[in-house]
Amino acid sequence: MQKMPAWADVVLIPLISLLLAAILSGLVILAIGENPWEALKLMISGSVGSSYAWGYTLYYATNFIFTGLAVAIAFHSRMFNIGGEGQAMLGGLGVAYVCLFIPWPHWSLALIGATAASALFGAAWAALPAYLQARRGSHIVITTIMFNFIAAAFLNYLLVNVLKPMGAMDPATAKFPAPTHLPSLHDILGAFGIPFSKAAPANVALLVAILACVGVWLLVWRTRLGYEIRAFGHSESAAKYAGISPTRIIMLSMLISGGLAGMMAINNVMGEAERLVLNSTEGAGFIGIAVALMGRSHPLGVFLAAILFGILYQGGAELALWTNIPREMIVVIQALVILFTGALDNMVRMPLEKLFLAIRRGQSATTAGE
């Protein structure tokens, strides 16, 4: 007998976990002498209250959709890709090379080229940890953590010593040429006569992110490879028995994962900064973990969770601007979400399962009595 109805698993548990995280965050805000209710109102008006606010929220959400999908697809094959940060950094490098050294005639072609390059670079950065996991049995979590640090040092070296234009002070590449500049949501919606803030950084990469969501859904639930990935994730031994090669599944799921993480760069590097700067990822690779956990590794869930985290990020920035709550409060909230939806899942789940069992027993007792 199923312990719980499916809707409880998909909706109720994440909501309760989120509520617990929100209550604790509220207590932290209360402890530093601010009003949590006022903070919440400010966060919401600052993140969804105007088209300018939405522009930032959606910009952040685009980053998180890519990194969230990256973590989610790896979760399906029971791999924990903690290296999204490094893969996204390398994706940025790919975008920078393509935008700086290929004379693109139009942004649409540049976007295709940059998407391919960012996915390729991100996937390449995931390839070695994946290979080591598949063939050498070295733990993917450890190697991807190490690769994050190696990526940061590598990028730092390239930006300071190689890619920085002559005479420039800050470690960053030159500005990308104008034909590679992506249209913002202002331009896109303006074409349909819908007014949207011009200053906000949300851009066409959001549409690519949504396409990626659809693509991942098709891949995981509508293709043979997706079936194999899920089968492998459920039971490695059963998958092996069914003739599925573990090496192939680990490699492919991690390459796709790394590619998705790398693709984030078309948003933050190509769409927003229009050059590659140091620490361009700003921790989005790690937020992907929270997003994937919240979204239960389903593309639709990832999309919604990414919007939620976009609201958190933009709202948190507004908080830091108008109150004494520092920006790091977002990191605390993010940590609590990861803790409750990921690690303490059973704490919420076990009492709920008991509750549903009790309800069901009560129902069957009454039907038996009639």
Binding site: F80, G342, L344
Partner: protein, 322 residues
């Protein structure tokens, strides 16, 4: 390179290895008992802040140390609850703890001191002072051995010596006591330990507790000995280098010390030779030195320098049969 340069390099190697060694031993206890801990970084960071803050407020470094250990233990308890009691994913719990510490330390520091996420400078009794070992004056003028004793061995803070003592202590505890045998068994085959009538849950909580205490000392060292106060993100990846050292050492105390000394030396050398050619090698980019511990660990994991095999039950929650 003359003797003095060499001794100074050794001296800063000891200073920089100490937090790595303490965190590495902390991870050793936890992982030997079957609990993965990628939250070493966060525990150290929390301990660094609370030790710095309490040492500043109270003026006593010892109270600071206690506060640091307390903060680290609190996070250990969260990790234990998540990974032992509720059988959650230990890696995810570790990630959450790292973020929790990174965020909370700055939020609380800003609220308490209003200096942009740092504590005020510590001075005097709020810091660990260097200890001059006995007989430095008598031995100091002896050629070679004198300077080695005075510069290299004497003149460190209490925690450096404590960390050095922790290595044989950890070895003895793990490999020569009944407790150590059980702790290692619980990381390899918890069902067997359970069958013998010993509580898996209790043993694992004790191991996670030891891990918390050691991380607490490591964090307190950063804020009250190595530097004079807490600054935002001051652990700077040391928790992960310690994790790398743990793999490098194949989960053994004495090799752990050697690995930490190696990684500490790399850091000391990259500071010493920053921007100038290395003797005998030439110019080395500082970023290469920063990445080297991680690169070495990946090469080790790839199986080119021996093979690192983790405790068998590491990372797996234990479910008692009913």
């Amino acid at each position: 390179m003359d003797l003095m340069t060499f001794l100074q390099l050794g001296d800063s190697t000891f200073r920089l290895s100490t937090p790595l060694l303490l965190a590495c031993l902390a991870g050793l206890f936890s992982e030997r008992a079957g609990i993965f801990d990628i939250g070493l970084e966060g525990k150290m960071l929390a301990a660094a802040f609370f030790s710095g803050a309490i040492a500043f407020v109270s003026g006593s470094v010892w109270l600071g140390l206690l506060a640091g250990i307390g903060a680290s233990l609190a996070l250990s308890l969260v990790h234990g609850l998540a990974s032992i009691t509720f059988r959650g994913n230990q890696l995810i719990s570790g990630v959450a703890i790292n973020f929790l510490a990174a965020g909370l330390t700055v939020v609380v520091a800003q609220d308490w001191f209003g200096q942009g996420g740092r504590t005020p400078q510590l001075a005097g009794a709020a810091r660990f002072q260097n200890i001059t070992l006995p007989f430095t004056e008598q031995i100091g003028h002896v050629p070679f051995l004198g300077p080695v004793y005075v510069e290299l061995i004497s003149g460190h803070t209490f925690i450096v010596y404590l960390a050095a003592l922790c290595v044989p202590a950890a070895w003895w505890l793990l490999f020569r006591t009944r407790f150590g045998l059980r702790l290692r068994a619980v990381g390899e085959n918890p069902a067997a330990v359970d069958t013998a009538g010993i509580s898996v849950v209790r043993l694992r909580f004790v191991a996670v507790g030891i891990c918390g205490v050691l991380c607490g000392i490591a964090g307190a060292y950063l804020a009250t000995a190595l530097q004079a106060g807490f600054i935002k993100d001051m652990t700077a990846g040391r928790g992960f280098i310690a994790l790398a050292a743990l793999i490098f050492a194949k989960w053994k105390p004495v090799p752990a010390m050697l690995a930490c000394l190696l990684f500490g030396f790399l850091e000391a050398a990259s500071i010493r030779f920053q921007g100038q050619p290395w003797p005998g090698i030439g110019r080395v980019p500082v970023q290469f030195m920063q990445a080297l511990p991680y690169v070495l660990t990946v090469i080790l994991l790839a199986g080119f320098i021996g093979r690192a095999v983790a405790p068998k039950a590491s990372g797996l929650p234990y479910t008692k049969e009913r």
